[in-house]
């Protein structure tokens, strides 16, 4: 087995922390993966991984070698892509993740346009309301809402969103408008537990209000629908109700008590060495999301 392939296998084992997962993802047998890593360790003369019954961890030498391998493999991929012409032409399958509703409403139309533009490309979406480790799960591009932790990922800011209290005009005409977050106790609340299950809602200046929601919905869509029908008030990110705000079906209250807006970023792992399929998508998505007047 050539050394580059052994390095690829080692990197994958380090990322997945599993020989079995590596074997599955690289279409190899588990013993072949073990042999590849062992041959690399023999060649280097240092232990790279520590195997326990439950997981695989890198040694100190392994951590350093892992970073070097990733850089070297990225350089090789770039050189091969440049030589083969594919550096300029998107090829293969692009995997994209975003939160469930943002993905469906704002990212999916960009993905389908991307596929129309690059007819040989395929795409895979993972629109889900849970944290996704884009390196471990083999994701090419992520769209994230909120402040980003420090990482080696490249990030492009494309907009911002606000967490808003909303209800239908009919509801406000009938039951009045809350003047402060404390007034929410006098209103019917439909709370979405999709991403935030705590009954304590945070507002500007660290004001916290404990909300006794009469209706708890496991999806954002259900909470929004009940508000749209005039049943009660709900609190969501404003992008989730963008079309309903434009149509006048929902309106915002308590905006002066909102926390600062949250940024929206497009993230990808390879920085300036990103393959053409990623660069083409990021360029298209950044331009389309920045032009979206609901987000900017």
């Amino acid at each position: 087995m050539d050394r580059w392939q052994a390095m690829r296998i080692f990197v994958k084992v380090a990322e997945t922390e599993s020989f079995a997962d590596t074997a599955r993802q690289m279409f190899m047998s588990a013993p072949a993966v073990t042999r590849a890593v062992a041959s690399l360790e023999n060649l280097i003369g240092a232990r790279l991984l520590v195997r326990t019954t439950r997981s695989v961890k890198m040694t100190e030498a392994g951590v350093r070698y892992f970073e070097d391998c990733r850089r070297i493999l990225a350089d090789i991929a770039e050189a091969e892509a440049a030589a083969g012409g594919s550096y300029a032409t998107p090829t293969g399958t692009l995997s994209i993740t975003a939160s469930a509703l943002f993905g469906q409403m704002y990212v999916l139309p960009i993905v389908t346009s991307y596929l129309d533009t690059h007819s040989t490309m395929k795409a895979k979406t993972l629109f889900i309301d849970r944290p996704v480790n884009i390196v471990e799960e083999g994701i090419d591009v992520a769209v994230r809402i909120g402040h980003l932790p420090d990482s080696n990922l490249s990030a492009v800011k494309v907009g911002s969103v606000r967490r808003v209290m909303c209800g239908s005009p009919k509801y406000f005409e009938r039951y009045g408008v809350p003047k402060s977050p404390d007034d929410l106790k006098d209103h019917r609340i439909a709370a979405s537990t999709a991403a935030w299950a705590s009954p304590e809602w945070k507002f500007a200046s660290d004001l916290r209000v404990s909300v006794d929601a009469a209706l708890q919905c496991n999806t954002n869509e259900a909470a929004i629908q009940s508000a749209r029908e005039g049943w009660g008030l709900t609190r969501v990110l404003n992008y989730q109700i963008g079309p309903a705000l434009v149509a006048g079906e929902l309106q915002i209250v308590l905006s002066e008590f909102e926390e600062p807006a949250l940024p929206i970023h497009i993230l990808h792992p390879e920085g300036r060495h990103a393959p053409a399929k990623v660069r083409a998508f990021v360029d298209m998505a950044a331009s389309r999301l920045r032009e979206n007047r609901l987000l900017n």
Binding site: P169, G176, V177, N238, V246, G248, I252, V253, E256
Partner: protein
């Protein structure tokens, strides 16, 4: 949102509603820039130009500015907008109309 006095977003929304899409390019660009500085999205400004608002109280204020009458004023007061603010909204609307004339 409009309470005891008008906040800058409500004031700009009223201006956008009274100007509509009839403003010249320079004024539209100036309004767009002012809206951005106040943290308004493009869609919020578009809706304001159509005579409404994403914000419930601001939409009531815009209605009053566009059509000051007993009914819109009573609706504003029911929504918690003070008499003083209602008068301020009506004065602002008159002044903006006079500028446009």
């Amino acid at each position: 949102m409009v309470g005891s006095s008008m906040d800058p977003r409500a004031r700009l929304s009223i201006e956008l509603a009274l100007t509509g899409t009839n403003a010249n390019k320079r004024l539209l660009a100036k309004q767009e820039e002012a809206g951005r500085a106040l943290g308004m999205t493009g869609a919020e400004m578009d809706v304001a130009r159509r005579g409404s608002s994403f914000d419930f109280n601001t939409s009531i204020a815009v209605s009053l500015a566009l059509n000051a009458c007993r009914e819109t004023r009573q609706r504003a007061i029911r929504a918690g907008i003070s008499e003083e603010t209602c008068e301020e909204i009506e004065r602002l609307a008159l002044s903006l109309r006079a500028q446009a004339a």
